[in-house]
Symmetry: C2
Subunit: 545 residues, 2 copies
Amino acid sequence: MEVKTSSNSVRFDKQRCSFIVLIMFFSLPAVNAVWPMPQLISSSTDRYPLSPRQFIFQYASGSSAKSGCSVIDSAFKRYFPLIFVDYLKAGGPRQHDNWFRLPLNEGVFTVLVDVRKADCEGYPDPDSSESYKLSVSSGQASLRAKTVWGALRGLESFSQLVYQDDFGQYFVNKTEIDDFPRFKFRGLLLDTSRHYLPLPAILKTLDAMSYNKFNVFHWHIVDDPSFPYQSSTFPGLSSKGAFHPSTHVYSQTDVSRVISHARLRGIRVLPEFDSPGHTQSWGKGQPGLLTSCYKGSVPSGTFGPVNPAMSSSYQFISRLFKEVASVFPDPYIHLGGDEVDFTCWKSNPEVRGFMQKMGFGTDYTKLESYYMENIINLTKTLNKTSIVWQDVFDNHEKLCCSSLSVVEVWKGGCYLCEVRRVTKSGLRVILASPWYLDQPGPTHDWARYYTIWPLAFKGSEQQKSLVIGGEVCMWGEYVDATNLSPRLWPRASAAAERLWSDEKTTSSVTDAFPRLTDFRCRLLRRGIQAEPLFVGHCRHEYEGI
Amino acid sequence: MEVKTSSNSVRFDKQRCSFIVLIMFFSLPAVNAVWPMPQLISSSTDRYPLSPRQFIFQYASGSSAKSGCSVIDSAFKRYFPLIFVDYLKAGGPRQHDNWFRLPLNEGVFTVLVDVRKADCEGYPDPDSSESYKLSVSSGQASLRAKTVWGALRGLESFSQLVYQDDFGQYFVNKTEIDDFPRFKFRGLLLDTSRHYLPLPAILKTLDAMSYNKFNVFHWHIVDDPSFPYQSSTFPGLSSKGAFHPSTHVYSQTDVSRVISHARLRGIRVLPEFDSPGHTQSWGKGQPGLLTSCYKGSVPSGTFGPVNPAMSSSYQFISRLFKEVASVFPDPYIHLGGDEVDFTCWKSNPEVRGFMQKMGFGTDYTKLESYYMENIINLTKTLNKTSIVWQDVFDNHEKLCCSSLSVVEVWKGGCYLCEVRRVTKSGLRVILASPWYLDQPGPTHDWARYYTIWPLAFKGSEQQKSLVIGGEVCMWGEYVDATNLSPRLWPRASAAAERLWSDEKTTSSVTDAFPRLTDFRCRLLRRGIQAEPLFVGHCRHEYEGI
């Protein structure tokens, strides 16, 4: 169903309509339908008709970004058909198009974009401003932003303000928006090792991410089951470690395409090369890298984590990461470090000898710590900051906090206790635990992803400021291109609003329901196979997919 | 992953390979990969190369069904590209096709079909035999069946015996199959009221059903939220009760197309018009049909179930069902009868007066019973047998068992206790409770749908014979065309094997896992968006969808 809300100011609009009313399929003209909710939005019932034939995007005269700015130019091209959804489909003006019926003095509607700092060829980074101000009035929308990335967020909001009436006529209401993200890091993880995801599935996910204002694509690109990253330094890693050496790999061209597609949408690509555990597939193309497990005094033929006792291991990682650091422009690399099983290390005489030599006794967490510090340090020499899973912090709380920077919290239970502990150590945190969307469970229950409060722990303001954001994780055990989209959307959208919006104005599930229902219809119309929240229908549900 | 099994006889093949081995991505040539498992199958490692250019289907000389038999003719046409999956895609012989390399004396491979009773223009019915015998030897496969429906099941099995080696060459192994279904009723319910499903989604589901040997499409076509069935007698029902009167309806042509598509695949279409509850949408196009609820002494403006006190209600149902009975050829109609809320009836003075007049006291189950008996009887006058949800039996156990025929058990808890009770009353049972696939829960857990034993209750042989089958239910609250296929498949396949196969040869989840993994890859290649069971990949996973 397409539930539309009408109000003068969404910010102060506490809808009182009951659930029963919601499912009675009311259809009111849509205004304020921006998801995730802007920090400040006020709109009036004054509305302006829009015509695709009398609509242009333009750079404001004082804007630093000007025609030729790749990020904004391509956004103009992209948002036109997202705003006028019927236009291109019909191959031009629709037969019943109303543009020619507009009063002549209406003239052209102009979206004027004014960007202060024109980082048009750069990449979004962890400190990029994404704030913007949008003012929609008669004949004009004025969009001001400090950066091109902020302008992208503003264009997305503008596109969501436009709606069609029952006759197909486009409208936008008089609106003022002053917006910025609640959290700097709003990530989505895809796992391309447990199942290979073809390039179009990744690119489509990036599109949907931009509609939801997510800004980090965490690419868990390799893991135990397969190594699809085609390394130029070590081609054997994918030729032997991928599910298939030709069809189930990401070539350098593929990776560039992902990075470029993401950049144009203001999305960082954060690569993860998870070690020393989760590396079974690495061993296939790099003999000697993994620890040979022993049964008694003889090798059992199976392998464990990366062998931390061999200097060759670090030489290999160093060369691999040097490549990774140059391929992926983001200043961060995710080093993994989760779920290291010590059984194999313990069985290997060489590793045991190394433990003795290093004075680690029988404490294998020290060995793990030694390994992690080594690769964190070599990451630093590549001018990259490292992110690790919480295990690294948990196992080395006393030991190596000086080397750690950002810790991603993923374990269940009292995850806010963990957030508290990590921030108390002065480290930054990304929260993932409550947003494991691949998990079995009441999969339709978007509300449980919505009612997550990352800062609801006892701690100082300083500690809270260290929570840089959160991340939706779509692990791949049970997910591939057949079910990725409906499992992600619109459930991930619930997390998106939590990470972008002010929790004070977005605390109510009842208020969010009709807005998310409406937004899901919009996703569907844009070709994202987003599943329904509940009984009903979208007006255009079978056009986009 | 494409796990292939190789054995001389699947029937006696208890695979001992552990889960670990399974996820190590073995790829052996596929034989015996028929899902659901035939009652008897034995195959040898002798294999015969097949070429699309030297392969024909033929009617056996003594067959009653001959060229011109619509069911078999169209199956021949359908199964050719299902067997030679590359052939049509490549627009003819593939560049590397090996057919020309076949030894000349191989000649043409012929699938000879021999059908005893040629009911070529009829419909499958509840008593139709689906048994078949298939014998694959050098140069020939011989398929014998009592009916065209049995022949369809045999063709499906044959198509699944064919596999390709790493060079794309097609093979079939020497095989003997003697097969018949364990249960006569193997249903799948789609709910087109809570969300409208476009025709292609229904037709595709019918295709997938035939690959799984399901034989009843239970069409829960209308319910509270919408009435998409376009009635010729009462056009107002859909013009006012559908989500949209033009785009979200099933015209008579649409319905015919579904019935015809199903027939050609040996699938019955069982329509459900659920009353007296679940009828909110009916009321929109048929004023006066529903009970007007009262608040005190005045109508509240809301409506309850069909008004059982008005003779006009029965006249309406009679006329509607007369149409339904002629549109849907199946000898059964599902009358629903579940979840009738008495609150509104109790509030209505007219209904209360009727209760008094009929001597029902304050026992509203008697009123419900009166209503159901009336519509069951009028169904009988239309020469149709009725199926009802278990509520009707539960509420009227003593009263109306003489009118009941088939009871569908849907409630959770001890559903086998219910099966026992119903069969003890001499009524037939369809089991749905354990196969609510739309339900939230560990959605990837196909094994829980596999390890269901419909006859595992204490009862006589006579009682057990009354369990005519089971049904997968895909209710529509959270399901529409965006997520239908990956939510259904291959989870419904687990139920399909339980309903078709001998439970003695299909009791092990471990044995089923690689077979179902393989079958899922086959579904994917046939264009069914079936989700993965676990980590891995299919060789051809991105061609079909």
